[in-house]
């Protein structure tokens, strides 16, 4: 190995080690803030920074050394009890930890400690070394600095030597060969500039025999070897190596499966014992290798005390974080994946869960809130709980919020139990408004948290008691690499379905197979204990082939009932095989984007089988839309409709029986006007209306007859037959007027009859059928013309002009 490589390795080791230490440091500092007299914690903090400082000096990272040095000085004052640990000091030290972390990241990336100088931080740390109100400490600190700078090597090695190996002098004093006074004199001589070793000075002075010193030296070196060879209980292993090992074990599991299957085909007792033995060893090996990838969850948790401290100080709350079950193990890959969702939940607890201190005391609680993180194994899964003793969540408020956002209907809200209401916070869209914080909801991004956890094959659950607090419960599997799965066959291919999604298996036989599956507007459903279960045909979902008919010809129908989060659905497959442990292999990048597929595995016969992603399937079949959670599946069309905006329309009837409409947004008011009140001004009809003179326009007498569409006419005739109200409207002595405002002038459109105001999604299907009509559309299953108000007004003024010119000619 050449020098560069060696240096690189040393640096890598330094980074890994320092990062580990820094994680502890965060916690230690927060713990120390609560218990400032704890000398153990103080000592550990000091040692960590000291080690970092020493090593980075040696490796030539100047900035890192500067920052850690000034931090160390502050810490040493704290350790000696010269200064009390105050909040600003803790904050500054935490900032120093951040800065060090940042520089370490920089070193990892580019082999240098970056461009940032951290001058402010250094100044701050230096300033904090001044005891409050004592100016002279400053110069002492400066001296300290100078001393440390001039002789860093001496100071650097001290504490560690102290711990492991005693200096010669101390050994000699201990053995009684030298008096401590003589030793002190020798050390003084050394400090005065004598470079000779302490032992030599002592021999030269004649206070001790050379043999005694030699003996002490050998004793010391013995201790040194002991210290360095004290066998460590753990070693650091490259993660890639573990991954490879895991892969190999996965392969071994597959071969085992193959051997077992092969063994069944011939009857040989020796072979079957051997293969059973192989099976046993493989299982054990698998377990052990999995174990090597297990990490205590404490690793993820370590940053939370800091998060809680910073956040709670930021929002003026008092919160204590308690952690139980730090040692609970789970797979490395899961540790990484669970980090973000957990952080999110904790932030939420701090932000929305725990109340302000004054609110708490007013409610008879301690001012300090407690968030408890708990982890434990249960039934081959890891449970993680985040409890707070905060104000809890009011399900009623959640419901009204969801109603307001149109996420649920009135009916749904009425029938919704407390549990379902609480689960509303996981709904997508619930979170988007800033207003979420003003109820005690925790909506922000919770849908994302839920999805992330579900992607890991986990579930998240919430329970809350108003006034007493909230608990979030997460259940995740121990590992993602090997999972129990159900294998099914469909169109000749085998597929594996993760057992975590599996609810039950149904087989419809005989008559049931024919009549059991019903159609709900084109969506196949099955009545499972009285509830409608939407069905997906696997062959259709995957290959687009309509296997509904195939299934019908098949005498039996196999339905695998699956759950994707809240949603249950049935997957119709040709055959259900068995359950087995499968080794999950990721798909290549060519197939990454297909969300119905979770991966692949190798079956006992050596062939590849696809592992299905139940969420992806449901999503692709549009089962996971918001309305779908009510039970039945939903029509594409309906979905598309929901995405479009609804428009409020005023519907009215023509004298010829046809329907017309104007958008409500263009209408100022709907009025009934007494015929007696209508006056004539020239050729225009007017009416006094709200202190104005309003021109009336008789819409239908203006419009040219429409002959453009036979459908329109047919519709018109139908309406005619059913109505016959035209005359009665006339004879009633009132006319119906739609008042519009153009500029600041009110204009009244006289119409035959206003039918309805409706909210519709408008799909313009036809173009304008005649002048004065902007478009046609089907509304409430009737062809309806959109009245072009501007055009009608223009036509009316044109008409009145024409009329007046007419009358002029006649006169």
């Amino acid at each position: 190995m050449d020098e560069m490589d060696e240096m690189y390795e040393v640096i890598q080791e330094f980074i890994v080690e320092s990062n580990e230490n820094l994680d502890n440091l965060d916690n230690d500092l927060v713990a120390l803030e609560e218990d400032p007299t704890n000398a153990d914690i103080m000592g550990s903090i000091f040692r960590t920074i000291h080690t970092i400082k020493g090593t980075c000096g040696f490796l030539g990272f100047g900035k890192l050394e500067k920052v850690s040095h000034v931090g160390e000085n502050l810490l040493s004052k704290l350790r000696e009890g010269e200064l009390p640990l105050t909040q600003p000091r803790t904050t500054a030290l935490l900032q120093m930890v951040d800065a060090i972390r940042q520089m370490l990241a920089c070193i990892e990336e580019s082999q240098n400690d970056g461009d940032e100088e951290y001058l402010e931080l250094i100044e701050n740390l230096a300033a904090l070394q001044i005891a409050d109100g004592e100016g002279e400490v400053d110069s002492a600190a400066a001296q300290d600095d100078a001393a440390a700078e001039s002789a860093p090597a001496v100071e650097d090695d001290e504490p560690e030597e102290e711990e492991r190996v005693k200096p010669i002098g101390a050994i000699l004093v201990e053995s009684g060969d030298v008096s401590s006074d003589d030793l002190a004199a020798a050390i003084q001589q050394q400090l005065d500039g004598d470079k000779t070793a302490v032992g030599e000075i002592l021999v030269n002075k004649g206070v001790v025999k050379k043999e005694a010193v030699d003996k002490a030296v050998s004793k010391q070196s013995e201790a040194q070897t002991r210290a360095s060879t004290a066998s460590p209980s753990s070693i650091r292993v490259d993660v890639n190596l573990l991954d490879q090992l895991m892969n190999l074990v996965g392969e071994l599991v597959l071969i085992r499966n193959q051997v077992l299957q092969f063994g069944e085909s011939f009857d040989n007792p020796v072979f079957s014992t051997t293969s059973q033995h192989l099976s046993q060893v493989t299982s054990e090996l698998q377990e052990q290798v999995m174990q090597t990838r297990m990490q205590p969850i404490g690793g993820v948790w370590s940053k939370f005390p800091r998060v809680v401290r910073d956040l709670s100080q930021g929002c003026g709350k008092q919160i204590r974080l308690e952690m139980e079950g730090k040692e609970t193990d789970l797979d490395k890959s899961l540790i990484e994946a669970i980090k973000d969702p957990l952080t999110h939940l904790i932030r939420n607890s701090v932000d929305h869960g725990i109340e302000m201190p004054e609110v708490r005391t007013a409610n008879g609680k301690a001012a300090e809130g407690v968030i408890t993180l708990r982890a434990y194994h249960e039934g081959g899964q890891v449970n993680i709980e985040i409890c707070d003793d905060g104000g809890g969540i009011d399900p009623e408020k959640l419901k009204s919020k969801a109603l307001e956002k149109k996420l649920i209907s009135e009916d749904q809200a009425k029938n919704m139990g407390e549990k379902d209401a609480l689960n509303l916070i996981f709904k997508a869209g619930f979170s988007t408004a800033a207003a979420v914080t003003n109820i005690s909801g925790r909506g922000v991004g919770m849908d994302v948290v839920k999805t992330n956890i579900e992607n890991l094959g986990g579930v998240v659950d919430i329970s809350s008691k108003l006034g007493e607090g909230t608990t979030m419960r997460i259940k995740i599997p121990l590992t993602l690499a090997i999972i129990p799965a159900l294998t099914v066959t469909c169109a000749g291919d085998r597929y594996a379905i993760p057992q975590i999604n599996l609810m039950e298996l149904l087989m419809l036989e005989g008559e049931d197979a024919v009549s059991g599956i019903e159609q709900l507007h084109g969506v196949p459903v099955y009545r499972l204990r009285g509830k409608l279960l939407p069905l997906l045909y696997l062959n259709k979902e995957l290959w687009g082939e309509d296997s509904a008919e195939n299934a019908a010809t098949n005498s039996n129908i196999n339905i695998v009932v699956l759950k994707a989060g809240e949603l249950q659905f049935g997957l119709v497959v040709d055959d259900v095989n068995d359950t087995q442990e499968v080794v999950v292999k990721p798909l290549g990048k060519q197939l990454k984007g297909i969300n119905s597929l979770a991966g692949a595995t190798i079956m006992g016969d050596g062939r590849v089988a696809i592992i299905l992603d139940v969420f992806g399937l449901a999503e692709n079949a549009k089962l996971l839309s918001e309305t779908a959670q009510q039970g039945a599946g939903i029509h594409d069309e309906q979905l598309a409709t929901e995405e479009k905006e609804k428009v409020s329309l005023v519907l009215m009837r023509n004298p010829d029986g046809g329907r017309m409409t104007v958008p409500l947004s263009e209408v100022t008011r709907l009025e009934e006007i007494q015929k007696n009140d209508i006056e004539s001004v020239g050729n225009d009809e007017v009416v006094r209306y709200r202190g104005q003179i309003m021109t009336l326009i008789n819409v239908f007498s203006l419009l040219p007859e429409r002959r453009s569409s036979e459908r329109l006419i047919a519709d018109g005739e139908k309406e005619m037959e059913s109505s016959g109200t035209q005359q009665s409207a006339d004879s009633s002595g009132v006319v119906q007027v739609i008042v519009c405002t153009k500029g600041d002038k009110a204009i009244g459109l006289v119409v035959d009859q206003v039918l309805d105001v409706t909210e519709e999604v408008v799909e313009i299907s036809g173009e304008s059928s005649r002048r004065g009509v902007s478009a046609t559309a089907v509304i409430q299953d009737r062809v309806t013309e959109f009245l072009d108000i501007d055009e009608v007004i223009a036509m009316s003024s044109g008409k009145s002009k024409r009329r007046s010119s007419h009358s002029g000619a006649e006169a």
């Binding site: 392969e251 597959l254 995957l542 290549g588 990048k589 060519q590 197939l591 119905s596 597929l597 062939r607």
Partner: protein
């Protein structure tokens, strides 16, 4: 430069030997639902799952039928292995750089992206496939 040669329809192709992990005979395959049409299926290569690409289809030739038993050229990539399915595997040839020419401007489409050029052998042209690109475009 050494090229691992193979036949694809009427064409004679080569791919940089350094990119080739191994060459194997026809393998049983599992078809993959919802995948691009160029992706023929998944192969179990000693416990490693390899995606098989229909190289004929990728290059715009007539695709392999289900009864065809193409050979696999396994290309090793940072993210795993990909198999290019080809008609026939040929020898590994040492080629003379001086006989190389870039494709003419008239070569268009996906072939232009994937074919780096041709070595003029005495009796025919040896087209050079850009393995990295071919892996890339299937992703």
């Amino acid at each position: 430069m050494q090229l691992c040669t193979f036949k694809l329809g009427d064409y004679f192709f080569g791919v940089d030997v350094e990119k080739v992990q191994e060459v194997i005979r026809h393998q049983e395959m599992t078809r993959i639902p919802l995948a691009k049409k160029e992706i023929r299926g998944l192969i179990n290569l000693r416990g490693q799952i390899v995606t098989a690409v229909d190289l004929r289809l990728l290059l715009g030739l007539s695709k392999f039928s289900d009864s065809d038993e193409p050979m696999n050229i396994i290309i090793c990539d940072d993210d795993g292995a990909v198999s290019f399915q080809v008609d026939e595997i040929g020898d590994v040839l040492d080629v003379d750089e001086s006989s190389f020419e870039y494709p003419p401007e008239t070569l268009k489409g996906i072939a232009r992206e994937l074919i780096q050029g041709a070595y003029k052998l005495t009796d025919r042209l040896l087209l050079v496939l850009d393995a990295d690109k071919a892996v890339e475009v299937t992703a």
